[in-house]
Symmetry: C2
Subunit: 163 residues, 2 copies
């Protein structure tokens, strides 16, 4: 499959939520997201890595406009699943490089990260699939990150999409 | 946008690599993945959550066949980025639910997690995008997970793809 990078997208209307030290046992993610779904809040990115000492961290992004509702159910979430804390961050942007054939081409992700590194932009979260590499950065670095990626992948003017 | 779940996919030819306690500063992800790219190893899922006390965990999956090569460059990686340890797990499977309109429909992810919870299947890693919800489970639970999801979303016979 040929590698084709089709665009760079920025999403600035979301906030990141981090649920710390949840037990790594079946049912926890189900309870957490069913509480969020009850409030009719749309969840975009969900990122969970590997547990340590039986505890995991679950991150997800929601529309900024829903953050107040989400905070209002914090006690409900904390009584449904054990966790040490829930952290909210509304100063983030999601910058994504979109394309096809990324999985079969080594080095695309490395290049995305190198472009950000060269500008001293810190990567705060990463989630990838075959067609998309998404990173979370500080809101104020989003434009610069997107422009740098746009230039690196030699995309024409029209491709920076703000979702 | 209407919600359409088009299929369930299982991927059993990959291993998960976890790089622990990397400094959460610009350039680390770039260095890690450029070392991996030098070996011409294709990276599939990359998952990094939020750092704690300035340290992050970076997870990624590679073809099982490349695990020996990856282990052979561990010292190179450790001298290029500070980390406390690198963990390899070749007994995993990636189970994905694929569809469109997932972002604008609350509750799809919750349902996926509930199906796995109801069968006592532990979710070891999560990565989602608008068109795909991927979870890592023990290899021996992959079939059961995929069949349960297949049934839940009432998909016809043909849709369980083994990638
Ligand atoms: C941490 C959380 O994902 C848990 N392992 C679960 O299955 O729900
Ligand atoms: C942890 C790693 O992602 C780091 N923040 C970087 O930008 O490379």
């Amino acid at each position: 499959e040929g590698l084709v990078i089709t665009g760079v997208a920025i999403k600035t209307d979301e906030a990141k939520v981090t649920v710390l030290d949840v037990p790594d046992v079946p049912g926890i993610a189900a309870k957490l997201f069913s509480e969020v779904a009850k409030e009719k809040i749309n969840v975009n990115m969900i990122v969970q890595g590997t547990s340590r000492n039986g505890l995991s961290e679950i991150n997800f992004t929601v529309p900024k406009k829903d953050l107040i509702t989400l905070k209002s159910i914090e006690e409900k979430i904390k009584s449904s699943i054990k966790c040490s804390n829930i952290i909210y961050d509304d100063n983030i942007a999601i910058v994504s490089v979109v394309g096809t054939g990324m999985r079969s081409h080594h080095g695309v992700a490395a290049k995305v990260f190198e472009v950000l590194a060269s500008r001293g932009i810190n990567i705060e979260m990463i989630s990838t699939s075959e067609i998309k590499i998404s990173v979370v950065v500080r809101m104020e670095r989003a434009e610069e990150a997107a422009n740098a990626l746009h230039k690196e992948f030699k995309l024409s003017e029209i491709e920076i999409k703000t979702e």
